[in-house]
């Protein structure tokens, strides 16, 4: 198996920070807010590996820092410290050492992100097809009919009615918007895809279809994914391995079925026990 992403000692503090931030926060102290300076320690000393074609789950409640992890990796936010290396065939990139243009290049050409809020991932001012076209145009595809064709294929793949591809995403249901977002993220066949609470707030039946789609895509394209969720059901169905976070720290990690059936940490035991 080939490694695609290696994250080491990632930390992210919102606020000015002080020497006590990491000492005075964390799951043991039951807070992520530094009592001395009021900064929020979203992530502290997080390390993880991701292999080609693997789905890694990051599970935690609100405030655990799980979304911050993918936002840092997708360059939506800048980490306070730490390293992340992206292995792309024979090339490797020190993600946090790249300049803005290099970051944008990776975002546009090698990474995909699907947000909980479709407004973050889609431009609601242009048609669904146009949203996908944008990503293809970023990849220097300059042939209108090819772009149309590819957009149609992607929407078909994600089960969006292609006769609606010229409509604005605002006309669509939440589940449909997520499908368009997934189609957009996949437009360039990214080897690495981040999914941030993609099924939260959707009807159960719609959730199931989206999860099914994600899994199919992973198997078809061997896409490596990090799936951020507070939903145990989502990791159970999607992730081979799972990381459990609380107040910015990893408190447990392992194979997903082991985490769910034999959780080691008191917090995870409580989380699993309280799930429906």
């Amino acid at each position: 198996m080939e490694k695609i992403l290696e994250v080491r000692n990632l930390s992210k503090v919102f606020g000015k920070g002080c020497p006590n931030c990491f000492i005075k926060t964390g799951p043991d102290l039951d807070t992520n807010i530094c009592p001395d300076c009021g900064s929020v320690v979203a992530i502290h000393d997080l390390s993880l590996d991701l292999y080609k074609g693997e789905i890694l789950g990051i599970m935690g409640e609100s405030g655990s820092g799980k979304s911050t992890v993918v936002k840092n990796l997708f360059f939506d936010q800048e980490p306070t410290s730490g390293r992340a290396t992206f292995f792309d065939d024979d090339k490797q990139y020190d993600l946090f050492g790249l300049n803005a243009a290099q970051k944008r290049h990776l975002r546009n050409h090698r990474f995909g992100m699907v947000y909980q809020n479709p407004h973050l991932g889609l431009n609601f001012g242009i048609s669904s097809g146009g949203n996908i076209a944008e990503r293809l145009l970023m990849n220097d595809l300059r042939n209108y009919s090819e772009i149309r064709e590819r957009a149609r294929e992607l929407l078909e793949r994600t089960e969006v009615l292609t006769n609606r591809m010229d409509e604005l995403p605002g006309n669509f249901s939440g589940g449909m918007q997520q499908r368009v977002q997934i189609a957009k993220a996949l437009a360039i066949n990214p080897p690495l895809l981040f999914l941030d609470e993609v099924t939260t707030g959707l009807d159960l039946s719609v959730q199931a279809k989206i999860l099914d789609l994600i899994l199919e895509i992973q198997q078809e394209m061997n896409t490596a994914m990090i799936v951020v969720t507070h939903d145990l059901g989502v990791v159970r169905l999607l992730a081979g391995r799972t990381i459990v976070m609380k107040y910015g720290r990893i408190i447990e990690s392992g194979l997903t079925d082991q985490i769910l059936e034999d959780p080691q940490h008191a917090y995870t035991q409580r989380l699993v026990a309280s799930a429906l």
């Binding site: 243009a101 242009i126 944008e134 990503r135 970023m138 300059r142 042939n143 009919s145 010229d166």
Partner: protein
């Protein structure tokens, strides 16, 4: 006229003081050095409302000298109110310059909405008045973000706009201000010239200067520089067609030329009439026909 002459005496040559002109010239040099890049400058107050060509005017006033011959056109015509006013202001404040209506005779041409039909020469400079310098403003409201997009030559969202246009109308409907990539990097708003004039920017022998007074930006298409309108491989850029319903190229009602950009009028009897938009071109065609 006497009152005007008196006023003239109170102002330096070119209305602007030397320092102001120097700043504009420095900005021009930078704009030439980075083709298509919008260089910010401290646009001066002019004795006319911003939006009436103050950007172009400041460029002209900064580069013109007493030996130069100036032509000012608006929508192709030297006689429109705007052109007349700008011309007389420049005449008034630039002692000794010559003015002309004839494209061939001018070495500085200030224009709004058109580039003359007659191919320009290396010894000519054309100054275009620009209302909105940034082509990205239609897709990105934040100037900070637009600057980054320009820096990284990230124009995919502009291309999406074209895509949406084709989806909706089966063709690119932009008639004026067609986004054009200069020297393989910066995309400019070439000012409200029609598509017809965009190809004239490509490998132009004359220096093209563009000034936006209200937006405080100057940019340039230097001589012999590539200017490529954004388009798709299979939906290429096209200029306006002046064919009639039978596919016949319309010609100018006055001079009979069938190669120039035509304006459409409704005649006194109610039918449509076409005439050269470039009045000097039309005149020249008439002269050639011996009329």
């Amino acid at each position: 006229m006497t009152a005007m002459r008196k006023a003239n005496a109170a102002y330096p040559f070119g209305f602007l003081d030397e320092y102001a002109k120097k700043e504009v010239r420095r900005t021009i040099l930078k704009a030439i050095a980075i083709p298509g890049y919008q260089v910010p400058y401290s646009s001066r107050e002019m004795p006319m409302g911003r939006g009436f060509g103050t950007g172009g005017l400041q460029l002209t006033l900064s580069i013109i000298g007493a030996d130069d011959t100036l032509k000012v056109i608006d929508q192709g015509s030297d006689d429109s109110v705007n052109a007349v006013n700008l011309r007389s202001f420049i005449e008034m404040t630039c002692d000794g310059i010559d003015t002309t209506d004839i494209t061939d005779e001018a070495n500085v041409i200030q224009s709004r909405h058109r580039i003359p039909e007659k191919p320009l020469r290396e010894d000519q400079v054309i100054v275009l008045q620009v209302p909105y310098p940034d082509p990205l403003v239609v897709v990105e409201p934040s100037e900070d973000k637009r600057k980054i997009m320009h820096g990284e030559a990230d124009y995919s969202r502009l291309l999406v706009k074209l895509y949406e246009d084709i989806v909706q109308f089966d063709e690119i409907t932009i008639s004026h201000r067609y986004p054009t990539r200069i020297n393989d990097h910066y995309v400019i708003d070439p000012s409200p010239i029609p598509r017809w004039d965009v190809p004239k920017l490509n490998q132009s022998k004359a220096l093209v200067l563009l000034g936006a007074g209200r937006e405080k930006k100057i940019y340039a298409v230097p001589p012999y520089t590539d200017a490529e309108p954004l388009a798709f491989d299979d939906v290429p850029f096209r200029v306006e067609s002046f064919n009639d319903e039978n596919g016949q190229r319309r010609c100018c009602d006055r001079c009979g030329d069938n190669t120039s950009f035509l304006d459409e009028f409704t005649s006194s009897v109610g039918n449509k009439v076409y005439q050269c938009s470039d009045s000097d071109w039309c005149r020249e065609q008439l002269v050639a026909k011996g009329e």
